[in-house]
Symmetry: C5
Subunit: 154 residues, 5 copies
């Protein structure tokens, strides 16, 4: 039995957690989910660490940075600290950030958040249970949330 951690925020404008939970459950069984909700994006690194402290084998960090410059800087700092937590504990944390200005309106933003979260939940599942699936897709222009891009065949 594996444990998958999901950290999310009250700052986000979409319930990304439910997308991740639903996608994970659609992929298979053999895991339990542990959730940890924090106020904002800068609280995600410590939330991820606390989930690892509870025995999570992999963690999804879900956040939606705002459109202002200060929001971008906060997101960058959170990203950097998430990397620190990964390295400290040798555990994968998949950062799923959806920037508000990636979408034209609130509906589009919700669709993007749902899609990106699901695709990264799938990545988490693959890293945990079937890494050979990722190896087969190496160098093929995979994108999460947006359409995959053209790649160069050898």
């Amino acid at each position: 039995m594996k444990k998958i951690g999901i950290a999310d925020t009250t700052f986000a404008r979409y319930d990304m957690y439910s997308s991740a939970e639903d996608e994970l459950n659609s992929q298979g069984t053999g895991f339990v989910i542990e959730r940890y909700t924090v106020p904002g994006i800068k609280d995600l690194p410590i939330a991820c660490q606390k989930l690892i402290g509870k025995g999570c084998d992999i963690v999804l960090a879900l956040g939606m940075p705002g459109p202002e410059d200060i929001d971008k800087r906060c997101a960058d700092q959170a990203s950097r600290a998430i990397l620190d937590v990964e390295i400290k504990h040798d555990v994968h944390i998949l950062e799923v950030f959806v920037h508000e200005d990636e979408a034209g309106d609130l509906t589009e933003l919700g669709e993007l958040a749902d899609k990106r979260t699901r695709e990264h939940a799938l990545n988490a599942y693959d890293l945990l249970y079937r890494p050979e699936r990722l190896e087969k897709m190496a160098g093929t222009g995979q994108r999460e949330g947006h359409p995959d891009v053209e790649y160069i065949r050898r």
Copy 2:
């Protein structure tokens, strides 16, 4: 009995500490507050660490960066180091920064500082005593100091 740390600065133009103390006391009992005042925003990370060293279960880092580019850079560095302290000690530090150029005049700045500090004091209380309250608000566009924003209902 829990201990809540509050770090603040002589650089700030508003007594954010009293807002935090008042809000915490209005939420409940069962905690004591430990305070540590330092000169400027870059002294907050070490102040937070010293509060953790004194047994604080959670810390509020209160600061008011000035409007110049150098002030922004200092605030960014303080933020980054606060994240380091959180990860090192596995303790939440809620950063409450109020940027001088977020408000039109000094009165507005004071109101913003009071409101943001209170809302983060409430977040600290929730993280400590009722995390389920945060989980219920996940993905609902909560903002501290400013009005909450519209969110996407599933």
Copy 3:
């Protein structure tokens, strides 16, 4: 028998792994290759650490950042965390990043990715088996992927 780690991504638009493997095999024997594929560039630092955990004596981190500003920032953060992993474990990790906007079209991008990967695979081989070769080339304007540049003779 030495072990060479290669981390790559599904985000990349070219199979850089095969270039590295082919080049290494063309240089000599006495090593095995361990591979680890992750979704994106920010997952490379932890992938490198996991390869080091499996006993790799040196690691190649292969990635292709996109052309947007956010892609550049992600790449910078990945670079920084790769440096952290190197220092933590005292193991060389050669970062092989090919930025999408370094090339005019997809074909050119593939050629650049192939060439840079090969030249860094050669660097890895030299660091491991013949460091005196690097010492002889010190200060001679070596470039990976692009033509070497003129240098100042003493």
Copy 4:
């Protein structure tokens, strides 16, 4: 008997050390000063650490970054590493940086450097011997080197 460390540079254009020493001696007794001079601003973090290694209870890091973009970047990196040293050793390091472009001419620059250094030397003394003095000034817009600013009375 406490020990106060002072790190300074040959790059600076003013003897900040003497200002710090003079101010500290004017505040009281019961301490000795340990000095460490390094070439440039990026050497200050390791200088501070070496002073802490010699038993300093608090450290002043005195530097004068040049006016170019590269100088700013160097100063930012030094600042960041000074924060690391503080957190690693749980010792306050007061950063006293005077940027060359803060003043109109060399005389003004010297006056600013003298004033800022003295005010931070006083901060160091307060942190060490009378922290209650800082607590009383919390939120009152204190500035070092420049005139204090207006603050919001509750």
Copy 5:
């Protein structure tokens, strides 16, 4: 007998190592030099750490970043990681970076690289054998590679 480490790169366009070696030998005896050549500037931090691992008492990190924005960012990351290595091991590493766009042509670049390297080699020697020499020059506007600047006499 002391050991001085020198890390350099194949990316550089000038043999900075020979300038450092020649200058050190002209200052005195009682030390041996250990050299470590790596491909690029981002490999310098790990190279410095490996030199420290071989017992070096001080290290010179010699590099020549290119003129592009990506080169500047790489240099910044290398600088930051060099600071990390210094702090981790409590050993001075003098960063000697010569940016390609500091000089008008290749000849001038070579002269600048030679001069800066020699002046930092002298700094390394002073830190190791005669720190009082640096203390006497504190606050006197020393510049490495370029002419020293005017300073403010007390």
